[in-house]
Subunit: 454 residues, 2 copies
């Protein structure tokens, strides 16, 4: 019987995260204070984030950052996650390619998000913080943080975009089951929320507004810190456990990936699976290709612009040097909520600029075609976000078939879609459609970033 | 770091199922033809079931039945499933007991049901069958069979109780994603369905009617067979992979269970986790206790009667010797749909009668109290069915605390509750309630079975 899964015992859970900032040839440009345009120091971030996270955010020195034992102990609930050979998908495609996927869907919260949530909750607890807060759109990050907070004995308040709060009751219930307090945003609990509700009592909320509410709660509440689930350097750092495990598991399989693929929202799961392999490109001249799969309707890497921009719609964050579609970009309402973000993380933006990675865009219908084929061959119903990685993988596998070359492809299955079945329903009913965006429209949005770079 | 999960490589997937019928001291009474009251032979079951399944159903001779390689290959998608030490649950309870659980929720369909679905689909394919059919209430079995059919290239038609079809769209979508055809029952596609709809156009369906429709489809369609997800001996046989793996994993943990617990509907996950350990009680005089956790509202083992009864409401099946509440028992609409069945499997009924196992009943609210504590400590949101096993486990663990004795408890986590979040919603909103049934009402139902035993 051929081996299907490559498992590692929990003693092989990495003992340190890999810090890409320490090895990349061109360091990222500094993060700037929007008022003074001065480079930010860790201390400038302390009012919002835990000190350790703020320090990690700007650490360009240490290649390895130790994972605290209590975090590793919590990782052991679901890690090491399986590396799986997708034999049946390969057979269905008739490709000579070897397709592997890292299955991050096995975590309690159903996605890779927990890798950083546990770390952030732990550091908060260590610092004597009692409450943490965040925003959530699709609900994956909110679910992960709720669970992590419970495990480290913290109170957790999540601002959930009102339209999601009403349309995704299962996600909300998951957060409640893990013990968090969920507030639909905009809410009357903050100045920012009140202002919006006063102006428009029927406002359905946005990620931008939910971020503003969570940050306001954090800075105005004693012993409360804000947390974020993607984009930032320390979040991507925590996700490198994915690739570090995958590296050992590919060794068990006797292969090394020619191509590594992940879907791309802010970059957290992409960085997690790619950085540990990419370091061998940087340090030893390996030639692995790294492909970010983004939605065609939110094409920051394939059609965005590299410049300074805000991380949020409202313009409350520092200025980040990144590929962006403009901070007031209004993404189409695709079902992959986790990919509807206007910018790419700072490190990845620099890596993209320097040619260490590439990007492709995927239409919504192609993503679900791929997801359904994957479910029927490999048994896991993928999250709409992960469907993008699968679509890009299938494309590469079919290229291999065309040229008759058996490459080794590894992709990250960032999460399962068990609580996204309404999206699959739409797909099967024929009601789902693609969303394209014209160059004219794109330029209109990008201007909001251009204005900051003059 | 203390070890949390006990894993086995897929090379350790059992190569044979354990057949309890071959070793139990008192064999089950024969299954009877309801018209002639003659004992059934395998051939009598061939019109409905695959021949191999019919043979296994009545096999009292072979202690081990080999698992075909193609089934083992498909098992490798998710097996061996993890055995997990519930340290954080233990800590929350302050119990000296060691609590372990076998995590069957990691299967593609989210529960143990796939263990038999894959076997049944394989045997159908082997026999040249092209179509399989079944009924589903809560949707766990339907989801598992849909996936198994797809993996072995069979068409799958599922009759889903109409009220579930409308109330559980996620379960329906999961089956569609795996490629099955779902028909709300009653339907116009069968005589049985037509009769019911003609009499009452607004009929909301029942498991009894859905079974009738599926059986009618199977016997009236060339190359089509019916499949069942619990109760029957061959289904329980296939589930023994759970306990066989758990036995090896408990060895890795250096322990042997004093108590083994599972929830109980028809008995499929209960038999799966218990039989392999129970054989040591029978053959070597071990003293492990085996506890079936059933809902207080459907108390077939704790308050039912051991006699011959039909397996379905409509009285289409052979007569089965079992603990029953009467085949026209109307279970309350608790959220654990998989436990709403009037009878216990034939083998387990005999084992219960002979004192090899015991049963407890669990109130609905207690089951969800237990499920939420488990989610917050161990990270997995359990299926409402599995919550019953957890509640029984907690009760035993608290007894250990009381008497200051550290017993080793193993329970089966039969499935996750990611698609049952509406039940958790009800719990958190305070709208959930217990359902008790009076002795008088119980006796009224049991009469329907009594009548068959005169």
């Amino acid at each position: 019987m051929k081996q299907k899964k490559f498992l590692l015992p929990e003693s092989e859970i990495p003992t340190a995260w890999f810090n890409m900032q320490a090895v990349m040839p061109n360091k990222p440009l500094p993060i700037l204070n929007p008022a003074t345009h001065e480079a930010l120091k860790p201390q400038d971030l302390y009012p919002i984030f835990c000190e350790e996270c703020a320090n990690q955010e700007l650490n360009q020195k240490d290649e390895w950052i130790p994972i605290p034992d209590p975090v590793r102990e919590q990782y052991a609930v679901y890690r090491c996650t399986p590396l799986v050979r997708a034999y049946d998908l390969e057979a269905a495609l008739g490709t000579p390619a070897h397709i592997y996927f890292k299955n991050e869907s096995v975590s309690p919260a159903g996605s890779h998000k927990l890798n950083s949530a546990l770390a952030q909750a732990y550091y908060a607890k260590q610092q004597g913080i009692t409450n943490i807060t965040t925003e959530t759109g699709a609900g994956q990050w909110g679910g992960a943080l709720s669970y992590a907070a419970k495990k480290f004995g913290l109170e957790c308040a999540v601002y959930m975009v009102k339209v999601s709060y009403e349309q995704k009751p299962y996600r909300r219930s998951i957060m409640e089951t893990f013990g968090a307090t969920i507030t639909p945003s905009p809410s009357m609990s903050t100045r920012a929320g009140k202002d919006i509700i006063t102006a428009n009592p029927n406002d359905q909320g946005s990620l931008g507004c939910a971020i503003s509410e969570a940050i306001e709660l954090a800075v105005s509440t004693p012993n409360c810190k804000y947390t974020l689930g993607s984009v930032l350097n320390h979040v991507c750092l925590h996700q490198t456990v994915i690739g570090l495990e995958a590296e050992k598991q590919m060794e068990l399989a006797g292969e090394y990936p020619d191509i590594v693929i992940a879907c791309f929202g802010g970059g957290s799961n992409f960085s997690g699976i790619t950085y540990p392999f990419m370091r061998h490109n940087i340090q030893e001249g390996k030639k692995t290709r790294f492909i970010a799969a983004e939605p065609a309707s939110c094409p920051k890497l394939t059609r965005g612009k590299f410049e300074y921009d805000f991380g949020d719609e409202a313009g409350l964050t520092p200025l980040l040097p990144m590929y962006t579609l403009g901070h007031d970009f209004k993404p189409a309402s695709i079902h992959a909520g986790g990919l509807r973000y206007h910018g790419a993380g700072v490190i990845m933006s620099q890596l993209m600029k320097d040619g260490f990675m590439e990007a492709v865009d995927v239409e919504q219908l192609d993503s679900f075609n791929a997801g359904v084929l994957f479910a029927r061959t490999e048994g896991i119903i993928p999250a709409p976000e992960s469907c993008h990685a699968i679509a890009a993988t299938i494309k590469e596998a079919l290229k291999c078939k065309e040229i008759g070359e058996g490459k080794t492809i590894l992709f990250n299955l960032s999460g399962h879609g068990m609580v996204d079945m309404s999206a699959y329903d739409k797909y099967f009913s024929g009601e789902m459609r693609n969303y394209n965006i014209s160059d004219e429209e794109l330029q209109k949005y990008i201007k909001s970033a251009d204005a900051l770079n003059k």
